[in-house]
């Protein structure tokens, strides 16, 4: 059974290094799908995102989602990193990397992880506006709930 790598990061992470670690020394992996989520500046209006999280539960919830993915698809490697704290436009917020023999499994697992992270992992985004005015909490999207629901039997 594959042991997923799950890590919360207080600062920037090196996605390329994580991807290289997943593949290192392996000759049995046929497909690697890496999803990176990044902070957008929203046409220059956003100075930063502040990511609040629930320490303890954030890690355990991501680990539970990763374990669920491993029961659904025969993955050969799985890495999930998630930032918290202040994140500037252009910086990476989340990385999901799924390795498998075939591409269908790797794609499905990475999409599943993202859909579940969005709706089940205890993180909340607050906007810091570029004009200095008080930013608000990012609203949850109904489309994210719908995306997560498609994985339920």
């Amino acid at each position: 059974m594959v042991a997923p790598t799950v890590r919360l990061c207080a600062g920037p992470f090196d996605a390329a290094r994580e991807e290289a670690l997943l593949l290192q020394g392996r000759t049995d992996i046929g497909a690697l799908v890496c999803f990176t989520g990044l902070c957008r500046d929203e046409a220059g209006t956003l100075a930063a995102l502040e990511l609040e999280h629930y320490p303890g539960m954030a890690e355990s919830e991501i680990a539970a989602i990763a374990a669920d993915a491993l029961t659904r698809w025969p993955l050969q490697g799985l890495t999930v990193l998630h930032r918290y704290g202040l994140i500037r436009p252009g910086e990476k917020i989340v990385l999901v990397a799924a390795a498998a023999r075939h591409r269908g499994e790797a794609f499905a697992a990475a999409e599943f992880l993202m859909d579940y992270l969005k709706t089940r992992a205890p993180f909340w985004k607050k906007e810091h506006r570029a004009d200095g005015r008080e930013g608000g909490w990012v609203e949850a999207k109904a489309s994210d709930d719908a995306a997560a629901e498609r994985w339920q039997e």
Partner: protein, 83 residues
């Protein structure tokens, strides 16, 4: 038990966490939200739209009808926006 608050719930209540001792009649998450809402203006604002508020008991997602009596830590927060 300990109550912990995140994001807009935390801001409206003005606390990150506190010890609470709800009376014996408060048995579920929904009932606890009702009881907390009566503690003051900030609480009332935090839980005004109770249907959108999520809860976790001992760091596992809970539902409005989840029983709370065995909980050591119960968290309240708006829908998550990570990822």
């Amino acid at each position: 038990m300990k109550a912990v608050y995140f994001a807009s719930v935390r801001e409206r209540i003005g606390l990150t966490e506190e010890e609470i001792s709800p009376p014996a009649g408060v048995a579920t998450v929904a009932e606890l939200i009702g009881w907390l809402s009566a503690r003051g203006e900030g609480y009332a604002a935090a839980f005004a739209n109770a249907a959108t508020i999520r809860a976790a008991i001992d760091r596992n997602h809970a539902r409005p009808d989840s029983p709370i009596r065995a909980a050591r830590e119960i968290a309240f927060f708006p829908p998550m926006t990570g990822g």
